[in-house]
């Protein structure tokens, strides 16, 4: 485990997009050991583009992404997962025909295979519901359970950094509470989390720092407690 405060993720001047369309116009972002960093922004601000470039689904146009000191910009997802950067995508993306257990097992396809049995038990203790439904096809789970499964699958790869992409989307208010509490617990166990959310108040409550992405660039950043009091942020995201 890296010592507290050591840089885990350093993004510098990241430009990315789709085809000829540039969505991210020079994003700088940093995450240090032990942190939960919230990435906020409205729909279309470029949050998903950023995630997909961090996890190697797309290749950035320019800029640098350093993960644990290693340059990973443009590297394939296989290498990025191997390095310990695991992205739990928006929309869950679980394997619908596979059982819950098989989904979790595949979470350790590239990384964490040696400790698979132990991690299966750990995930089942974090999400007892997944343990109960181990033999059920993932496609038959409820939305909230699928979200648990997606996170559980991510944890199976023993991430050094977990990107959670809109984990509260489509969950009932009670489950949203649970989700944020979970992120807090995982972080207390030493996991770094990049939390990508539209749920501003709750994200800022558990994050150490936050970035606000607007039109493909970082518009605001700073300690979460300060941002929570920022008048511009309150106006544009909270309607206050």
């Amino acid at each position: 485990m890296a010592e507290p405060g050591a840089p885990i993720l350093e993004v510098r001047g990241l430009r990315a997009g789709y085809g000829a369309v540039e969505v991210l116009r020079g994003v700088d972002l940093e995450l240090r050991a032990g942190e939960v960093v919230a990435l906020l922004g409205s729909n279309g601000a470029g949050k998903s583009t950023l995630n997909n470039n961090l996890s190697g689904i797309y290749r950035p146009f320019a800029g640098s992404i350093r993960f644990l000191g290693e340059e990973i910009a443009g590297a394939p997802p296989t290498r990025i997962v191997e390095a310990g950067l695991v992205h739990v995508p928006e929309g869950r993306r679980v394997f619908p025909d596979l059982t819950v257990r098989e989904n979790l097992e595949l979470g350790s396809y590239r990384r964490g295979r040696a400790a698979r049995a132990r991690n299966l038990e750990r995930v089942a203790s974090i999400f007892p519901r997944l343990g109960e439904r181990a033999r059920q096809a993932a496609g038959t789970l409820s939305g909230g359970e699928q979200q648990m499964l997606a996170i559980g699958r991510g944890l199976m790869g023993e991430p050094r950094l977990l990107i959670l992409d809109e984990p509260s989307l489509g969950l009932s208010p009670l489950l949203v509470e649970e989700m944020f509490a979970l992120v807090g617990r995982l972080n207390a166990d030493g996991l770094c989390v990049l939390l990508v959310e539209q749920n501003v108040v709750q994200s800022l409550a558990i994050a150490h720092r936050a970035y606000v992405l607007e039109h493909g660039a970082i518009a605001l950043s700073g300690p979460a407690a300060e941002l929570a009091r920022d008048p511009a942020l309150r106006r544009s995201y909270l309607g206050l």
């Binding site: 679980v94 619908p96 596979l98």
Partner: protein
């Protein structure tokens, strides 16, 4: 109406033939289920594998059953390379490309075979395979018994591997959720190529089981590919148990059709069953409703 013994013999013969259809269809349905590629090159690749078996026997004296791992392995490698180099590169996603690529591939292979091997039919004479084995009231050539047992064993092993191994799970995972697969670090293109390779390896195995009782010519793949497509549609596109049930059903229907209607009309039973399934259950016997 033929006697019970003759009917029984017809059914058993049909099941024996069906086992090889199952093997051919499993390859086809695997490729379709995972890659969404309708592999029109299937018959031609089977024919190539049959020639490989033929030459191994005729030139090197290798027993076709002993050659099975070699031919299946070679077929896997050929399939993997074909997918990486040709099919996957051009087919991606678009149905019309898939049609052109796999059909084009089959035309090239057929004509290369015609050029290299001439249009003559070739057979191999594996003496031990022709011996008859007694089953109660029935006598079956050993080749058919071996084909039946081996095809079932290969299907069972493949099914078990798909269920238990990480690669097998990855194959089932990429079939429905490619993005999710990438995000757990699965090399999706590699898994696609492996799936195509396994589909072709099934043909390699089928070729070794067929050759002792069948002939090969550059066009002999066609007979099987038509049956294989019928089997796969009958069982449900992409369904493993469907290919199994479909293959045996087709084998029995063909055999009983030949018995009751004569060799000329026998094949009509397959088409009739096919039309009935399409009318009554268009997703196939084991097909998922989409």
């Amino acid at each position: 109406m033929p006697s019970f013994d003759i009917l029984l013999a017809g059914i058993v013969n049909g099941l024996a033939a069906g086992a090889v259809y199952v093997l051919v269809a499993v390859g086809l349905t695997l490729i379709y289920g995972v890659l969404h590629i309708v592999n029109f090159a299937h018959g031609s690749l089977l024919m190539l594998a049959m020639y490989a078996t033929y030459f191994l026997f005729a030139k090197a004296g290798v027993d076709p059953y002993a050659a099975l791992p070699v031919v299946a392995g070679g077929a896997f490698a050929l399939g993997y390379v074909l997918y990486r180099g040709v099919v996957g590169r051009f087919a991606h996603g678009k149905d019309e490309n898939i049609l052109l690529i796999t059909l084009g591939l089959s035309i090239v292979i057929d004509n290369l075979a015609l050029f290299l091997f001439t249009g003559d039919t070739q057979t191999i004479d594996v003496a031990h395979a022709q011996r008859m084995v007694e089953f109660g009231p029935l006598f079956l050539p050993r080749a058919k018994v071996i084909a039946f047992a081996a095809a079932l064993a290969i299907c069972a092993a493949l099914g078990l591997w798909m269920a238990r191994s990480d690669t097998g799970k990855a194959i089932r995972a990429v079939a429905k959720e490619r993005q999710g697969a990438r995000l757990v670090g699965i090399d999706v293109d590699h898994v696609f190529a492996v799936s195509y390779g396994i589909g072709i390896a099934c043909l390699g195995a089928a070729a070794c089981l067929l050759m002792p009782s069948f002939y090969v010519s550059p066009s002999s793949g066609h007979a099987f590919v038509l049956i294989a497509f019928t089997t796969v549609v009958l069982g449900g596109m992409g369904s493993f148990p469907g290919a199994l049930a479909g293959g045996f059903a087709i084998g029995v229907i063909e055999s009983l059709g030949g018995l009751l209607l004569g060799e000329q009309l026998g094949q009509i039973g397959i088409s009739l069953a096919f039309i009935l399934v399409l009318l009554l259950r268009p997703t196939g016997l084991f097909g998922a409703r989409r």
